[in-house]
Point group: C2
Chain length 143, copies 2
DNA sequence: CAAGATTGAGCCGTCAATCTTA
DNA sequence: TAAGATTGACGGCTCAATCTTG
């Protein structure tokens, strides 16, 4: 139906604006210790990985940047001492990315403060039940 | 409670990923006629404005870019012939931005195709009722 | 040739400073 | 002094091409 198209567009616009608005607030918060939100995203992904770290291509699934962008992101973070590269024993093309101790420390500190800020921003507008609904609806879009 | 913090963070992550994923798909679609999604956002905002157009500061409320970014965006679009600037009769500091005929034509063509694509992407995952729920939840976050 | 990753060129956005008018 | 808008410097991302290994 026509009105279904309209609702779909309104839902997309609301989703788009909500993400942009909250992301701006979070980025402006004083919790980042010199890392960008995207750099934190890399640290966060690595924090959930095993001791061998992740390949670039695996990081790509988590961070939503192009391959070229990830290459530069990783190079920058290596330069900053947050991560380190090691050769992949089984595949000469790939390299494994691991956090350094410094990187792990940053991830913990930033993660704590950022997580609190996220909770504050989200619960300000929505209660627990609504948060679950939102999570479910958004997950369906990604799935 | 602690679990409420967790749900809030999961909801934010889901929201973030959903927006990024859908935005990528939409940006990659072959519907843009040479304008970027943001440039289209400007045309769309102007399409809903009166014959006197909008000021930069009014556009800023719709497009989510900095003042400096908007200045460059508008300059580019003026160069491309999509919009034009006129002096604001009542305020010598401001300028009014209006669409040209070419801009209006692009807005219509792109708007039609983009709108269809948005509807396709959103209804693929959610039915009408869920779209309304998503719209409502996201609107609350924008406040 | 395909897959993992890097590099060069260019675009576009932000920050900070500046200019002009209210 | 503040508000509207622009400009210079710079950072970071994307696209396309390239290099290396499977």
């Amino acid at each position: 139906v026509a009105s279904r198209t309209r609702i779909a567009n309104e839902a997309w616009e609301a989703l788009f604006r909500a993400q942009a608005t909250v992301a701006r607030e979070l980025a402006a918060a004083d919790v980042w210790d010199g890392v960008s939100p995207r750099e934190y995203g890399v640290l966060y992904a690595l924090s959930g990985a095993g001791p061998d770290g992740l390949r670039m291509s695996e990081l790509l699934a988590d961070v939503l940047v192009t391959q070229a962008g990830m290459s530069r992101l990783v190079a920058r973070m290596e330069g900053a001492g947050l991560i380190e590269r090691a050769e992949d024993p089984g595949d000469g093309r790939a390299s494994r990315i691991r956090m350094t101790e410094a990187g792990r420390a940053v991830q913990r500190r930033v993660g704590l403060r950022h997580g609190r800020h996220v909770a504050e921003a989200m619960t300000r507008a929505l209660d627990a039940d609504e948060l679950r609904q939102l999570r479910a609806l958004c997950s369906r879009l990604t799935g």
